[in-house]
């Protein structure tokens, strides 16, 4: 008998008697013979808990995780330190195991968390309305595209090449569904969105323009000017941002963004090989009834006591069905909880201190590595450089337990020799100097 089920033979018999069916098989009589599986599933036999643990531990041991090397890998997810208190809260069954809060009277914890989360996202993005989470960054971008379609009825989306490659591809995949095309504006010689190219692409049929802050290369974009160009023809200006650098960067909402979305992993979530994390979705007041997903709102109970509920549900699939603003149902509540705990832990001052620490270390790294910068402009946590002999560098670095970063060539042929280096608070000056030493040694050999 399974360790997770309780029905003993005696239970089974008693229950069958009550039901009035002779056997468990009898309960499946409704299933036509022709579609019944006549053999056992072809899967390995069940295992004892310790054997399952051993099997998965053995698999895990074949992965090189972020503590097993000194990694400068970022490119969309980052090795930030997550305080222990997050796990201690997330592992409480009261947060871990409930469903979406359909019964608010017994879900005030989760609902207030959503309200607090929405507030934090609103503060970071500088936009008044946030939902309670979407899946992750790129599909949040796609959701913004859908909102733009519903709002403008236009058919064209313009994206900056500075947008994460996954966001651009995910947007295109979804746009195909809701019948929109995607045009791309390139990056200029400084690695920032080419304003002229972008301006040229924006026309009367453009529903939205997407840029990323900081962009994929790590550069801080001039949102103000880009926003103006985007909105000339009434398109929505959508900024995909990493919420953590927003601690020291002027918020998109203050620079003209109509919508700000992004990947929430950097807010206290695990790397988890890419998920689960969460996507955030914030917008200007006028979009409140066009938002995707759950939104918690404050209200009172019959005794006048303060409480929280899922609100504006007439936007949602379970009420509006084919007229819903989005099809999302299960989202990423637990990951958003990690996000708001993380932000409460950092706090008003800490968010700035962390941002400034990364800023200084990142610039120190860019100088110390002494390589040609692809994006010489201001960067916060990540920057791109040209590396003459990338293969040799990876080989040498790996040999001493260093992961030098992300090969830009994987997504940007134009930067075949590009290396994207991320510097979080986990990477110390000593780590940076070690990477520099590896690069130096390879350079010397090349010259020798």
């Amino acid at each position: 008998m399974s360790r997770y089920t309780s029905a003993t033979d005696a239970d089974r018999q008693a229950m069958l008697d009550t039901i009035g069916v002779g056997s468990v098989d009898g309960l499946f009589a409704e299933i036509p013979e022709g579609v019944r599986l006549q053999r056992p599933l072809d899967l390995p036999a069940g295992l004892a808990e310790q054997d399952v643990y051993d099997h998965l531990a053995a698999l895990a041991a074949r992965n090189t995780h972020a503590d097993a090397e000194t990694s400068f890998l970022g490119a969309g997810m980052y090795d930030h330190y997550t305080p222990a208190l997050i796990d201690s809260v997330l592992q409480r069954s009261e947060f871990l195991t409930p469903y979406t809060p359909y019964q608010p009277e017994i879900s005030q914890g989760g609902l207030q968390v959503m309200f607090e989360y929405q507030t934090a996202i609103s503060e970071l993005t500088g936009l008044p309305v946030s939902n309670a989470s979407v899946y992750e960054g790129p599909s949040a971008v796609a959701a913004a595209g859908y909102l733009a379609k519903l709002e403008t009825k236009r058919t064209k989306l313009v994206v900056s090449r500075g947008l994460h490659p996954h966001s651009r591809e995910t947007l295109a995949t979804h746009a195909k569904g809701y019948g929109m095309t995607v045009a791309e504006a390139g990056l200029d010689s400084e690695g920032v969105t080419d304003l002229d190219a972008l301006t040229a692409l924006v026309d009367d049929d453009t529903a939205a323009v997407f840029v990323q802050q900081p962009n994929f290369l790590g550069t801080v974009e001039e949102l103000g000017t880009l926003g103006e160009a985007a909105k000339r023809t009434g398109a929505l200006f959508v900024v995909a941002a990493d919420p953590l650098p927003l601690g020291i960067l002027e918020p998109p909402g203050a620079l003209g963004a109509d919508i700000c979305v992004g990947e929430g992993q950097t807010l206290g979530n695990r790397l988890d090989f890419g998920g689960p994390s969460f996507g955030f979705f914030a917008a200007a007041e006028r979009f409140i009834r066009k938002m995707p997903g759950r939104i918690a709102g404050e209200t009172r109970d019959v005794d006048g006591k303060r409480g929280f509920v899922l609100t504006l549900q007439t936007r949602e699939q379970h009420i509006r069905r084919e007229k819903a603003t989005h099809n999302i149902c299960t989202a990423q509540a637990l990951n958003a909880l990690a996000g708001v705990i993380y932000l409460s832990w950092l706090g008003k001052q800490g968010l700035v201190e962390l941002g400034e620490l990364m800023l200084r270390r990142t610039h120190y790294a860019r100088e110390t590595l002494g390589l040609e910068a692809i994006n010489p402009g201001p960067v916060v946590r990540e920057f791109a450089v040209r590396v003459p002999d990338l293969d040799a560098v990876f080989e040498r670095a790996r040999a001493v337990g260093i992961n030098p970063g992300y090969r830009l060539g994987r997504d940007y042929p134009e930067y075949e020799d590009g290396l994207l280096v991320a510097i979080t608070e986990r990477r110390t000056k000593a780590d940076i100097d070690r990477l520099a030493a590896v690069l130096g040694s390879v350079r010397e050999e090349a010259h020798a």
Partner: protein, 523 residues
């Protein structure tokens, strides 16, 4: 202690009424406060690491125009109070580890604790998604094994793990359907969904650029074949179905349905939210479905987390395979004595492309894979058998005259993993609505069933006990239902005004929507 207490020495007024009025918990007067309202300037839980690089002035690194002019108004609070705040909030949630949670269509089965342990292993939790595959072989093998297992369970060979939840899987399913048809030069614009379908189905249809055509339900609770034949025209791209359906009934005509759909060249889509009824017993692929989505957070034990995360992988037949999302985990046979290698294949020209960032919700995959390893094929079958046994047992208990008079079953047949009652009788004879019954259940410490869904059942209560509940729990729940009905016969006001024992009572949802307050007022 009263959170609003002015503090100091002004005593809160003593409970006015004399004892036993004073037995009321003083804490009940407490108004909840947000973490922002607990913030005090200067407090902190974070200690920054030392700045080990030159303290270059920030202005020299970041132009003033780009720099934030005013800091984000995050809370200022030390660790002990953060812990108490979220601990306190957790105590205002009901959860699966606390009691019975028969929320229909949501498969609230036990979440094994082992899964949290294996998911937290650094090799999983701390693995960067862009790690060189050579250094992520364990993760890729796990994903490949899971793809294989899910494919076997659904009876469809090709699995993409990428979608983030059921509705995302539905979207993937319609996007591959579109790609499939267009690849064959066909442009179809309708998708059929039964009137019993979950809201995500029609919502997905619209997002995927199709038009919804509703199909009726027959007197047995299955698809109305006449209606289906009438609507299955050659501009139909797909029929989205869940079987067993949202009434908890297995559609006996599934083979017939499949042939009708296939005859017009449409695809047949399986909404896997109800897969928990048939694992190892009947496979969607064998029923004729072309595309299936799984809810790993339902059938495969990913904890719901109060609204996610989940994962909604899809499985497809050979003809659909070229179009599934990329990248795909592939297995390359090892050469000269080496074991197999696993890789991420993005070179899939006909793929609809990426549906999200990176490779999907890997942390969810770890838990679901652990579950499959624990149960094995036999165990999965036993799980489904027990889920159906539990549902039918509870159905039988509640079919007793003194309940059925008020809560008649919608379709009186043997059910699968769940069943639907109608609150019609209670509304007419007792003057209480399904909502009132649900709210009164809160006082009894059980989570109510799904209510008012499916739509075609008046005052619906959709009850899914799952296989991990004990017979005693089902007996107790039946007792609670009786107690509420008996109580209502005596005084319906009690239910109409329930709940009484929760941290808040009935909330003003209309008011919340009228003037939405969706964030803490800016300071």
């Amino acid at each position: 202690m009263s959170a609003d207490s002015p503090g100091g020495l002004t005593p809160p007024a003593p409970p006015g009424a004399r004892w036993p009025a004073a037995v009321l918990d003083p804490r009940l007067d407490e108004q909840t406060r947000t973490i922002y309202e607990k913030s005090v300037a200067g407090r902190r839980a974070f200690t920054p690491p030392v700045t080990d690089v030159p303290e270059v002035p920030i202005e020299s690194l970041l132009p003033a125009a780009m720099r934030r002019s005013a800091p984000a108004e995050l809370p200022e609070i030390a660790e002990p109070e953060i812990v108490r705040h979220y601990n306190g909030l957790s105590k205002k949630n009901f959860d699966l580890d606390t009691g019975f949670y028969p929320l229909g269509s949501c498969t609230m089965k036990h979440n094994p604790k082992l899964h949290e342990r294996v998911a937290a292993l650094p090799g999983h939790a701390r693995l960067h998604p862009l790690q060189d595959p050579e250094h992520a072989q364990g993760a890729l093998e796990l994903m490949w094994n899971l793809q294989r297992a899910l494919g076997e369970i659904a009876g469809l060979p090709h699995v993409s793990l990428q979608p983030s939840a059921g509705s995302h899987g539905e979207l993937a399913g319609l996007l591959v359907t579109r790609a499939y048809h267009e690849d064959r030069g066909e442009h179809r614009h309708k998708v059929l969904t039964p009137d019993t379908a979950h809201g995500t189905n029609p919502a997905t249809v619209t997002m995927a650029g199709y038009e919804v055509v509703k199909v009726g339900t027959d007197e047995h609770g299955g698809v109305d074949l006449e209606d289906l034949r009438a609507k299955a025209t050659d501009d139909v791209a797909c029929l989205m179905l869940t079987n067993p359906n949202t009434l908890g009934l297995f559609d006996r005509n599934i083979e017939e349905i499949a042939s009708i759909v296939h005859d017009v060249g449409a695809t047949l889509y399986y909404d896997g939210a109800n897969l928990n009824a048939v694992m190892g017993i009947s496979r969607p692929g064998d029923m004729g479905f072309d595309i299936v989505h799984y809810n790993l957070h339902k059938s495969f034990t990913q904890p719901h987390g109060g609204g996610g995360p989940g994962a909604g992988p899809i499985a497809v037949s050979d003809r659909i395979e070229p179009y599934i999302p990329r990248p795909q985990v592939v297995r390359e046979e090892g050469h000269n004595g080496h074991g197999p290698r696993f890789a991420l294949d993005s070179d899939r020209p006909k793929s609809i492309g990426k549906l999200r960032g990176f490779q999907g919700n890997f942390g969810v995959f770890v838990r679901s894979y652990a579950y499959i390893c624990s149960l094995g094929g036999e165990g999965l079958r036993e799980a489904s058998e027990t889920a159906v046994l539990n549902a039918n047992y509870l159905r039988a208990l509640l079919a007793a005259p003194d309940v059925a008079e008020y809560l008649p079953i919608a379709f009186d047949r043997v059910c699968m993993h769940e069943f639907v009652l109608s609150g019609r009788g209670a509304k007419e004879k007792l003057g209480i609505r399904t909502l009132d019954i649900a709210k009164r259940m809160l006082d009894h410490g059980v989570h109510p069933p799904t209510v008012y869904f499916p739509l075609l059942v008046d005052e619906a209560l959709m009850i899914e006990p799952t296989e991990t509940e004990t017979k005693e729990t089902l007996d107790d729940f039946a007792g609670v239902v009786c107690a509420i009905l008996v109580e209502a016969a005596d005084d319906p006001e009690i239910a109409r005004n329930a709940p009484y024992t929760t941290s808040v009572r009935r909330l003003d949802e209309a008011g919340a929507a009228k003037n939405p307050v969706v964030r803490q007022a800016p300071r």
